[in-house]
Symmetry: C2
Subunit: 411 residues, 2 copies
């Protein structure tokens, strides 16, 4: 008799973005002529850059001839891509990685979702709040999150990021086994300084905590003193796994490629406390068993981002999106909103006016100005009273959305 | 203190194909001039067919323009592909599926590896022996396989497939919660008749067993009475999940696309026995949380397989490989080997001569004839005394391998 994994039944019924899509569709059905502008889900809209397109055409042609055909690649990703990553994303910041410490994947969501397999199901968790829902949900699925009590999971330490603490989470006063950090942050758009990040690494070193560091938005950092990688901090190689994604760096949300760094020094301990096990080895084994590498074409596409043209072209796209962010930031400020993020990240975290709750304001914006945002509370209890705007839209749409918003506020 | 998942430490140190690669490399280093012919790992060698190449170029072009750019797709796969699957792979066999019962993935390995998440870690397992190692290893990783005792896992019922039973596994005399079946079989190349498959479905219906049916090689079936899908059997929708892959159907080992079917009627029970939960719903939630869909380009490539040209061209490639299988089958028979498979599958299962063990014969072939095969014992205890030959090579290589083998046997 096959018994179901009971932890799955604890999940809240719907996924945030599915809920939003449903509400938006209901609006569209009732108002078929309305032009809805989406500043909601964090998907890109600019096409892939020419360097990437050229590389993909070439890769497709490789697949057409037996001399250049590529079948199964290494589960960990092709060495040429891992070498390009090490050389371009880390070496210029003084971080020396071996290519065997890099695992190419089909996007950060898979790896952030699956990485928890390497450690026991009963390790305790710490998360900043608000947070990307996958971090929590993937832990609910294996029982690690515990049970839901008054909107919080029993085995999770929540570290609120609020206006009152400048969105800097406080380090827990007790030992936590695993902590998720995401900087630049989704959803708040805020960043962490080297000094603050150092505190986390030191906490982890002292408490033998595993840090799961999501750097998916690092390419959006504009200020020079903000760290792009946790490995810029001494000692981080012993405690942190870092997730990168080309989804936002180069518009790869439909291409599916990213990578995870697991330094060789990083270990977790056996339950008897006697042995330390390298997670790099375990993840390699995991990937060889449950993954067969990312599409050859997607890997060639990723490689092209590191060519001189690729770098220049992808930077121009990021600048475009960050131009949107600036435009919206300024407009929202002018309208009297309290706005955070948007300087080193493609997300704006906006306080709702008059203490209106997140979903209420979401509906007001949808019905009043035909703008879709993401209700902050969908990212966790501390997101209540905020909404997230993304800057991944068209420039004209961002402008029009801000005009509509101004008009709606005056009405 | 992050505690490691202790089940990972029970895994045997190396993955079968990594072991083989190491031995082959050692031989090549010592014999740099030798031309080694690989009939070992099941990777394809023919390039992608023109219909697929054209579709991929077009898909790449779509990504180059904002009007046709594709970002995040549905986690479950694009509807146009799922509709093509339903219409082409199932409807002609009298199987009616709804597209929502199909989940497009990045290859069967990911889904066969991850599907176990949906059910409790302590369900008992049944496997045919020999078997594709991923089925077992993925269950070791979550503790479901139990502990290794005398080369067998304690929570696994092994169903030997031997010459003495015509490679037809015997149905267990006790209740098993989950059973893996793979037909056409990897590694033995044997198939199952409708009558035999019916017995499994009836066993599963009676015992509330979940069947995990791997149909990755169904495109290689040449005999008309052999079932291509377990859903050809009445009642199977209530008990079986079926895995399909384009890797072998259309040479997609480097493209990464396949699909999994989870009928809506399929359920697993809660531990108190009071409720039945649809696994389709749980898998959808799992994919939305831990997967972000397969590359748009790979999905367009898969769609092209179902065009009239795509069908014709992929069939020609399969015929080529099956021509290899026939050639090797005949040659091996002529040399006096006992040979199985190769008629409805791209694998030949060959009894070693004189009771030599699998690894010994593997080395004899490597050093004596510069041929790489896969030692049968690597697929499980009942594989001892066999090796697997694949027919995915070049025709000329297959011919030469058989000539070398003949020469070596005479020496």
């Amino acid at each position: 008799m096959a018994l179901v994994n009971e932890h799955y039944l604890k999940l809240q019924k719907n996924y945030l973005f599915a809920d939003i899509a449903k509400k938006v569709n209901a609006y569209k059905v009732a108002n078929p002529k309305a032009r809805v502008i989406s500043l909601g889900i964090g998907d890109v809209t600019r096409p892939l850059v020419p360097a990437v397109i050229d590389a993909m055409h070439k890769a497709v042609d490789d697949m057409a001839h037996k001399e250049t055909f590529h079948g199964y690649g290494p589960e960990q990703g092709y060495l040429w891509l891992r070498e390009a990553i090490v050389k371009n994303d880390f070496l210029p910041r003084g971080i020396r990685l071996d290519p065997s410490e890099v695992f190419v994947n089909d996007g950060a969501k898979s790896d952030t979702g699956n990485i928890g397999e390497l450690v026991r199901w009963d390790n305790s968790l710490g998360v900043t709040d608000p947070i990307y829902p996958v971090y929590i949900d993937s832990n609910v699925m294996c029982g690690r999150a515990g049970v839901l009590e008054n909107g919080k999971w029993s085995n999770v330490t929540y570290m609120p990021c609020l206006e009152t603490n400048d969105f800097v989470p406080q380090i827990p006063d007790h030992r936590v086994d695993m902590i998720y950090l995401c900087y630049p942050n989704n959803p708040t758009g805020t960043v962490i300084t080297k000094e603050e990040l150092k505190k986390w690494v030191n906490y982890a070193l002292k408490n033998d905590t595993l840090i799961l560091y999501d750097a998916a938005y690092e390419a959006y950092i504009t200020e020079p003193h903000i760290p792009h990688s946790i490995y810029e901090i001494k000692g981080a190689r012993k405690v942190a796994i870092e997730f990168h994604s080309y989804s936002k760096t180069a518009g790869f949300t439909g291409v599916r490629c990213g990578y995870t760094v697991i330094p060789k020094e990083l270990t977790a301990v056996t339950i008897d406390g006697k042995e330390r096990i390298a997670l790099n080895t375990l993840w390699f084994r995991r990937q060889c068993t449950k993954f067969n590498g990312t599409s050859y074409i997607s890997q060639r596409a990723a490689e092209a981002i590191y060519s001189p043209e690729g770098k220049e072209q992808t930077k121009a796209v990021i600048d475009y999106y960050m131009g949107n962010a600036r435009l919206m930031y300024d407009a929202l400020k002018k309208l009297g909103f309290r706005v955070y993020g948007g300087v080193n990240a493609p997300y704006l975290w906006v306080k709702t006016p008059d203490g209106v709750d997140s979903w209420k304001f979401f509906e007001q914006l949808l019905y009043g100005a035909q703008i879709v945002c993401t209700p902050g509370v969908g990212f966790g209890p501390s997101g209540e009273g905020f909404v997230r705007f993304t800057s991944f839209g068209e420039r004209e749409d961002c402008k029009e959305a801000m005009q509509r918003l101004a008009k709606w506020m005056k009405a």
